[in-house]
């Protein structure tokens, strides 16, 4: 592919892809619902005066719709923060995990899973895991950011190395917790590390949706500044960009977005790395196009992967992280080989 795709057809195509993914995610599942039932249930939920099959209403309203919304939010946030991290490190192979947010969240989750049962009051238990994961992600990122900053300057090289070191430490702590855990807890920990949208409910959805909307609204406003950053930090500074502030914003957006996504759905690999990279191959590095395209692409990939995760082993279900990596990695390799990068 030598010619880059134009902005409008690309965004239009991705938009259509996302609509199709949403429809697929809502209509396909282990439970066979007729398309007409699905649509009338959706219309009914939207408040239109349409009669709907009671079972369809329940499945769509209580199971598939929250799950689809969660999938959109998680996929979009992971992909768009992937773009932000890649811009921050000026490296197309950077991943949001580099600043420690994923491992930090995993550490928080491991604490909640292994030790939470004893300490937390009963009414708090359902939220404990998500809150610990979110706090862990933010906390570890804050440490990494502080280590990379000196005299009001953030050096991304130092931040990268600090991220690697802190990640290794957090991974060791997770290992320790896993070692102390009993059989059943260990199993829960493993499955959380593979991510899933299973059991999505509106109560868990809205914090992530708010953050996702915030991040998705904010980052594209900084697209021009991100483009300038591509040239190099001092070049961007000469172009009048407040580089330090921009870097802090990127770290904050990534920590909030990925932290919330991981808290809601567990660790889901590869979306944040592959989707932006893929679209960069297709459309070039202009962030004005790359950010919205990644948002649409990430949401679509996650929804399609989740539909597969639900369908492949019915009535059981595959962890989502397995499917995204199994789908994403070969496609990525194919592109790498074909483009000879």
């Amino acid at each position: 592919m030598t010619a880059r795709l134009q902005a409008k057809p690309l965004l239009l195509g991705l938009g259509v892809l996302m609509l199709i993914s949403i429809l697929v995610s809502l209509t396909l599942g282990p439970l066979n619902l007729a398309l007409a039932d699905t649509l009338s249930a959706l219309a009914h939920l939207a408040g239109l005066p349409v009669d709907a099959n009671e079972q369809a209403l329940l499945v769509i309203g209580q199971i598939r719709l929250p799950r689809t919304l969660l999938g959109i939010a998680v996929g979009a946030v992971l992909a768009i923060t992937g773009v932000a991290t890649q811009a921050l490190f000026r490296n197309p192979l950077a991943d949001p995990g580099l600043i420690g947010v994923s491992t930090g969240a995993a550490l928080g989750a491991a604490f909640a899973i292994c030790l939470g049962g004893m300490a937390a009051p009963l009414w708090f238990q359902p939220y404990l895991l998500s809150i610990c994961a979110f706090a862990g992600g933010l906390g570890v990122t804050a440490v990494v950011y502080r280590l990379g900053s000196r005299n009001g300057q953030t050096r991304v090289g130092i931040m990268l190395l600090a991220g690697i070191a802190i990640t290794a430490m957090a991974a060791a702590l997770i290992g320790l917790l896993g070692y102390l855990a009993d059989d059943a807890t260990l199993r829960q920990l493993t499955s959380w590390n593979l991510g899933s949208l299973n059991g999505a409910s509106y109560a868990r959805l809205w914090p992530l949706l708010l953050i996702a909307l915030g991040v998705a609204a904010w980052l594209p406003r900084r697209a021009a500044a991100l483009n300038a950053l591509l040239l190099g930090e001092s070049e961007a500074r000469h172009l009048g960009i407040e580089v330090e502030r921009l870097k802090a914003e990127l770290v904050l957006c990534t920590a909030l977005g990925v932290g919330a996504a991981v808290a809601a759905a567990g660790l889901i690999g590869f979306v944040g790395l592959v989707v932006p990279h893929l679209l960069r191959l297709l459309a070039g590095p202009d962030h004005r196009l790359l950010l919205p395209a990644s948002l649409l692409g990430g949401a679509s990939l996650l929804l399609l992967a989740d539909t597969l995760a639900r369908m492949l082993l019915t009535p059981a279900e595959l962890p989502l992280g397995i499917v995204t990596a199994l789908l994403g990695a070969p496609f990525f390799l194919y592109l790498l080989i074909r483009r000879g990068i």
């Binding site: 329940l58 209580q62 639900r310 059981a316």
Partner: protein, 301 residues
């Protein structure tokens, strides 16, 4: 759900035909043969089959591996990672499992979809078992059979403990390991079915922790058990014990290994509370732990 899959309509359901799905699920009688059950947890499924309820079962979880007839049923995955829609697609009236079943949001979704979700106890105690069996008996419409089955279960154990009490042998020091050659084996501590089984068989469990946890080989050697019971999910029989020692040479010098006291145990016995095969397993173990007991057993008619 019944709308989607036409089945032999019961009277109870016919009466409810006009009512909502919720109402339909509530008024289905326990004895209704068209009831569709999904079971999660090895022992729960085993008891359902034992009490004659296999015809109700439309799917089980991956820990339900015994009896072999359950293998043909669709698997709903691991009991802690159930999928709401996958289970709904089976059109069940009842999902029964233990408190190990989850995750909680999925159970909540199923309840909202008017699937009756019943949670039995997985505690390794006779009280818990009696309650579980009473419940299952009531749902299956044969409480009397469930009562008899419990009486037989506790009677067998009572007989065994009487024989053990009359036996003057000292209780041997035993460890029960879950996992096979090449794993870090998990040692059964208190509050586990494994520890309960050892106690019933007249052994002293050397493990002092709670639940199943890994112990280092050095600890195992230091504890120097006279018997090691090995519940391996992959290998069964003497081969499992041999392979285990081959992988853990440190244990080759323990008393248990020297005296060839490595006892294989079916790992499916230990999942999801007390199962119907445990009295027989306890008796077999007791006969091995107390050789003099075996000879008295042989004299009995």
């Amino acid at each position: 759900m019944s709308r989607r899959q036409p089945r032999s309509l019961s009277y109870a359901k016919a009466l409810c035909a006009g009512a909502s799905l919720w109402f339909a699920a509530q008024c289905v009688q326990a004895a209704d043969v068209s009831q569709r059950w999904v079971s999660a947890g090895g022992s729960v499924s085993e008891w359902i089959v034992e009490l004659g309820g296999q015809s109700h079962l439309v799917a089980v979880d991956t820990t339900s591996q015994h009896p072999a007839s359950l293998e043909q049923l669709p698997k709903i995955g691991y009991q802690r990672q159930l999928s709401a829609e996958g289970i709904l697609a089976l059109g069940p009236d009842l999902l029964v499992g233990t408190e190990e079943m989850g995750p909680p949001p999925v159970l909540e979704q199923l309840r909202r979809a008017s699937v009756r979700v019943e949670v039995l106890s997985s505690e390794a105690s006779l009280n818990a078992l009696e309650q579980n069996l009473n419940q299952l008996g009531a749902w299956l419409g044969d409480p009397e059979q469930a009562r008899q089955r419990f009486a037989a279960f506790s009677g067998d154990l009572q007989k065994l403990s009487t024989r053990l009490a009359s036996n003057k042998d000292e209780a041997p020091k035993v460890l029960l390991l879950v996992g096979g050659a090449g794993d870090r084996p998990l040692v059964a501590g208190s509050d586990t079915v494994g520890a309960w089984l050892l106690a019933q068989a007249g052994a002293k469990n050397l493990a002092t922790h709670t639940g199943y946890k890994p112990l280092s080989n050095e600890m195992l050697v230091g504890l120097n058990p006279s018997f090691i019971v090995i519940a391996d999910r992959r290998a069964n029989g003497p081969a499992a014990a041999q392979a285990f020692i081959a992988q853990n040479p440190g244990l080759a010098n323990s008393r248990a290994a020297k005296e060839k006291h490595l006892l294989p145990l079916d790992a499916t016995l230990l999942v999801g509370g007390l199962g119907p095969r445990l009295p027989a397993a306890a008796e077999a173990l007791a006969n091995t732990f107390h050789p003099s007991l075996a000879s008295t057993a042989a004299q009995q008619p």
